[in-house]
Each structure stands twice: as structure tokens, then as C-alpha cells.
């Protein structure tokens, strides 16, 4: 919303919206289970929600109050400019075109072909181990940055540690708040064979206009790995 220049049309956000700083100042309506009362009290014309959440009962309750709920699907990288265009058009947002172009051009700028693509493991949760598989947001980022996913499985499953030991990845990514110590105790090979890097949680786990920053961050990491 802020990227396409429609930030001033926002009347409230969920508890997690913290970027840009202006989003923090807006009234909050709750987290995993948002408060219907607060949403209605904010008098929105429409409610936007990510597809990662399950809002079946909320959708029905909002409908009863005459407020449509629109699900924003940004699970994959190529959905991000499409969704921005769609939201921007609907809201007549002034910077839609610039914002969509910025994402498209930014991603084109960050696209790399590498002679030896590194195999990357994205640790979504360290204990038990959950990983970022194929056909996910992080997998799309690997493709853009000229890397490969170290795992063959799809989506975000719990994953066998022994498979990580049997074919160690070149790079292990995890967000800054995760404690990977239990994983490294079980698989110290990762310390020896892989480059362990923390990444920005907002960029890598919340698909949105920040995808360009995520791609740039990933390219810097891979460049560093190549120089080793």
C-alpha cells in the first residue's frame, strides 16, 4: 500500500505491520486472530489480508458487516508486481506504475547467471528442522540470483537432518531471530562445509516490494561465497 502511494488510504493494520515507519503509527487490529470489533470500528471500505493466513470465519463476519475481504496472494515472487498493480489500480494509487516498475526493474537488475550455482538451504525453523522447498518465495529468489535450492522437496516441510548431512548445502540462510544451535549440534558438518548467514526477516519471510532488497541481499551473500 505504501509502495504504490496508497498509504494515506490505510485506516488500520495488523499487529505485525512495521514497515515503513508510518505503518507502525496506524491503529492495530490484532495478529493471528484479528479483532472484528476493531476492524469494524476503523470503518474500512475493504480489508486486505495475506493468503498465508486463514480468515474463513473473518471473511463471513466482515461480509455480514458489509465489508469485503480481499486476499492478497504473494506466495511467489512473480505474484508481487501483479498484486501491486491490482491493488494500485483498484485504489487509484498515484505511484502504482513507478512502484511496479521499480520491482520489475529491480529484479531484472538483480538477475544473475553464475558459472557454479551455489546450493542454498533456507532454515525456516531449526528444531525440528523445517526448510524452504521448491516452488516457494525463497526458491524463486535463488532462481533470480543464480543459485539452486539444496532440497528437492516442495513447500515448507519438516526435513530429515541426515539428508542435510548426506549432501551439505553451500550456504545456509536463516532469519536473525532463530536459534540454530540445536541444528548445528545435530549437524556440525554445516559449520565446516557451508557458509551460515542470517538474513533480514522482513525481506525474506514477508513477500512484498522488499523482494528487490531480498534479492540484492542474497546476491551480496552469494558474491561473498564465491570469493571464499
Amino acid at each position: 500500500m505504501f509502495a504504490v502511494g496508497a498509504g494515506d488510504q490505510l485506516v488500520a493494520t495488523d499487529d505485525y505491520s512495521d514497515s515503513p515507519p508510518a505503518a507502525k503509527r496506524l491503529p492495530k487490529v490484532g495478529g493471528v486472530q484479528p479483532s472484528l470489533e476493531r476492524i469494524v470500528a476503523a470503518k474500512p471500505n475493504r480489508v486486505l489480508a495475506p493468503s498465508s493466513a486463514n480468515y474463513t470465519s473473518l471473511a463471513a463476519a466482515l461480509k455480514a458487516n458489509g465489508i469485503p475481504l480481499e486476499i492478497i496472494r504473494t506466495d511467489r515472487v512473480n505474484e508481487i508486481p501483479t498484486v501491486m498493480q491490482h491493488v494500485g489500480d483498484e485504489l487509484n494509487a498515484p505511484r502504482t506504475r513507478d512502484a511496479v516498475d521499480a520491482v520489475k526493474n529491480g529484479l531484472a537488475r538483480e538477475t544473475r547467471k553464475r558459472a557454479k550455482p551455489p546450493r542454498i538451504l533456507f532454515v525456516a525453523w531449526p528444531d525440528p528442522l523445517y526448510v524452504g522447498g521448491r516452488e516457494t518465495f525463497v526458491d524463486d529468489l535463488y532462481a533470480i540470483c543464480g543459485a539452486q535450492n539444496a532440497v528437492q522437496v516442495k513447500a515448507w516441510p519438516q526435513y530429515a537432518i541426515e539428508s542435510v548431512i548426506a549432501s551439505p548445502p553451500d550456504i545456509v540462510l536463516y532469519t536473525q531471530h532463530l536459534d540454530v544451535a540445536p541444528l548445528l549440534r545435530a549437524a556440525p558438518e554445516l559449520k565446516a562445509h557451508a557458509m551460515l548467514v542470517t538474513v533480514n526477516e522482513n525481506h525474506f519471510t514477508r513477500p512484498g516490494p522488499h523482494v528487490v532488497d531480498a534479492a540484492a541481499e542474497l546476491n551480496r551473500i552469494i558474491d561473498q561465497w564465491e570469493r571464499r
Binding site: 528444531d127 519438516q158 526435513y159
Partner: protein
């Protein structure tokens, strides 16, 4: 009822089953093992077998044995076939401890949450025991009711903790709610083994008195059993090992409730023989369930609790059918 020979035979059969389960579970997994490379000292093969699979399988056997032994102990103490570590609130206490600790961000302190889960399990048992006590005695129905009520309280606290916690910290608590043997270490296996052996010594020591409880507490008292002391020892031993099992692997259902019944239906033995038979059968069930959960769509791992039920229920029903 059984002769010493058939007791020995039952123990032998189940020991062989457990041994076969362990061998199979170490041999099979997401990665094919080359035994030639393993014995030639290949570092990867050795790491997978000795550091990932073996401690996980041993911990699984001990946790399965623990849950089944705790289950049979609670059922005997309470003379209630529905009693198990979960119904009495022991595992609920552990999960609640883990969830509340995570909600306050304590999951970011390495190694703290298992300790809190363990404390939660022991605290829950103490609370159930104290709540059920009246005039120096604890009545079996009151114990079960106290467990049920505490479980309701724990569920409520867990839900509130989840509502308050940041999304990442909720994930930390989910480990204890789902139940998994992933990441079990030799330290876990060693801790479980020490506590399990200690608890078994206590339980074998009081087994004869526990057996007499079957005829009712007053009857047992008349035969010279110190019922309150037996209860305290039995509950204490079963709760401490359950707490340790839940701290390592989270909540794994079914084993504690149904393995004792299965063993009783197949062999109809008194408590002294139920103990080793339940330990062996519980260990086998969890080792096989964990094996299936990690190979069925490897390298993806599925929740082990689903497979203890999927494997155990048909077996249980077939025995139940034959019984009639």
C-alpha cells in the same frame, strides 16, 4: 493365568521385536546407507548412523517404553483403564510450561524450554496429587477429576500464551505440542536411560504392593500395604520419566493409553510382568512409528504421533476382536 515359562517367552518375543525394530530403524531412513563405506570409516555415513539415527532410535525406544510404563502405572494406581500420562495432566503441564515460556520469549535462551517443560510435568503431577488429597488420603476418582480439570486449565493457558506470543515464539512451543523425535541427541538418550532405569527399579520394588491395589485400597491396606507411600512412589516415578520424555520429544499420544491394554489382552499378566512387557511393546511401537513417519515420504518427516495411532489402532482392534 500364565506360567513362568510363558512369561519368559512373552518377554523373549517382545525383546526380539524391539531389537528387530531398532535394527530396522537404524538401517533405514532418508539417506541410503552404504555399510561398506560405514565400516571403512566414511565420515558422512558414520555421522548419519551414529550421531543422527542411533540416538534418535534409542531415545524413541526409551520414550515409548517410558510412556507405556507410566501408563500402566497410572492405570494400576487409579484402577482406571482410561488413565494415562495425558489424561492426568502430566504432559499438559509440560506443554503448558513450554508454551508460556515461549510466549515470554524464553525460547530464545538455549536449552531452557525443555527444563521448563520438565518442571511443568512434575509441577502438574504434584498439583494433581495435592488437589486430590483429602484427610491424608488421595482418592482415585478425585485424582482423575483433578487431572481433567488441570488439563482444561493448561489448554486455556496455552491458548492465551499463543494469543500473546509473537509468531516466531509460537513456533517454538509448537515443537512440544506436535511431538517429534527429530534432533534427539546422545545426551537426551542418556538422560532418558538413567531416569528410566531409576524409575523401573522403584516400580519393580513396589510392584507387588501395586498388584495388591487391584483389589481396592482398603483391601490392600488390610494386607499391610502402605497405600499412600506406594501412590507417592508410583506417581513420582511415572511422572518424572514422563516429564523427561515430554521435554525431549513433546506430546506423543496413544502409547501410554493403549500399549498397556494391548499387553494385558495378549498376556493377562499381573503388574510385575506388565512392567517389562509394556516397556518392550511401547518401545517397539514408537521406534516403528518414528521409522514410518520419516521414510514414508522421505526426506520430509511427518508427525510421529499420527503413526503411533495409525499403526496401533488396527492392531489394537484386531486383538480386541479376538478377545470377545
Amino acid at each position: 493365568m500364565g506360567t513362568p515359562l510363558s512369561h519368559a517367552r512373552a518377554i523373549l518375543i517382545l525383546s526380539l521385536v524391539l531389537l528387530a525394530a531398532i535394527v530396522l530403524a537404524v538401517a533405514a531412513g532418508a539417506t541410503p546407507i552404504s555399510w561398506r563405506a560405514f565400516f571403512d570409516g566414511d565420515a558422512t555415513m558414520r555421522a548419519i548412523v551414529l550421531r543422527i539415527r542411533l540416538p534418535r532410535v534409542i531415545a524413541g525406544a526409551l520414550i515409548g517404553a517410558t510412556l507405556a510404563v507410566a501408563g500402566v502405572t497410572f492405570q494400576t494406581l487409579l484402577r482406571n483403564p482410561l488413565a494415562d500420562p495425558f489424561i492426568l495432566g502430566v504432559s499438559g503441564g509440560a506443554a503448558c510450561g513450554a508454551a508460556v515460556a515461549s510466549a515470554f520469549g524464553l525460547a530464545r535462551v538455549p536449552g531452557l524450554v525443555p527444563v521448563i517443560a520438565f518442571a511443568g510435568a512434575c509441577g502438574a503431577t504434584a498439583a494433581v496429587f495435592l488437589l486430590a488429597r483429602r484427610r491424608g488420603r488421595s482418592d482415585a476418582t478425585r485424582l482423575l477429576l483433578s487431572g481433567l480439570v488441570l488439563n482444561a486449565l493448561f489448554s486455556a493457558l496455552i491458548l492465551i500464551a499463543f494469543g500473546l506470543a509473537p509468531a516466531n515464539d509460537v513456533n517454538a512451543a509448537l515443537r512440544w505440542m506436535i511431538g517429534t523425535l527429530s534432533g534427539a541427541t546422545w545426551n537426551d538418550a542418556l538422560l532418558l536411560a538413567v531416569l528410566f532405569v531409576a524409575a523401573m527399579i522403584v516400580l519393580v520394588f513396589i510392584a507387588n504392593d501395586l498388584r495388591l491395589l487391584v483389589f481396592g485400597e482398603d483391601d490392600a491396606r488390610a494386607r499391610g500395604v502402605d497405600v499412600e507411600r506406594i501412590k507417592l512412589l508410583g506417581f513420582g516415578a511415572a511422572s518424572i520419566i514422563t516429564g523427561a520424555a515430554v521435554a525431549v520429544a513433546g506430546i506423543i499420544g496413544f502409547v501410554g493409553l493403549l500399549v498397556p491394554h494391548l499387553v494385558r489382552m495378549m498376556w493377562r499378566r499381573d503388574f510385575r510382568f506388565l512392567l517389562p512387557l509394556c516397556a518392550l511393546a511401547g518401545g517397539s511401537l514408537l521406534v516403528v512409528s518414528d521409522l514410518v513417519s520419516r521414510v514414508v515420504i522421505a526426506p520430509v518427516e511427518l508427525p510421529v504421533g499420527a503413526f503411533t495411532a495409525i499403526l496401533g489402532v488396527p492392531f489394537f482392534l484386531s486383538v480386541l476382536r479376538r478377545e470377545r
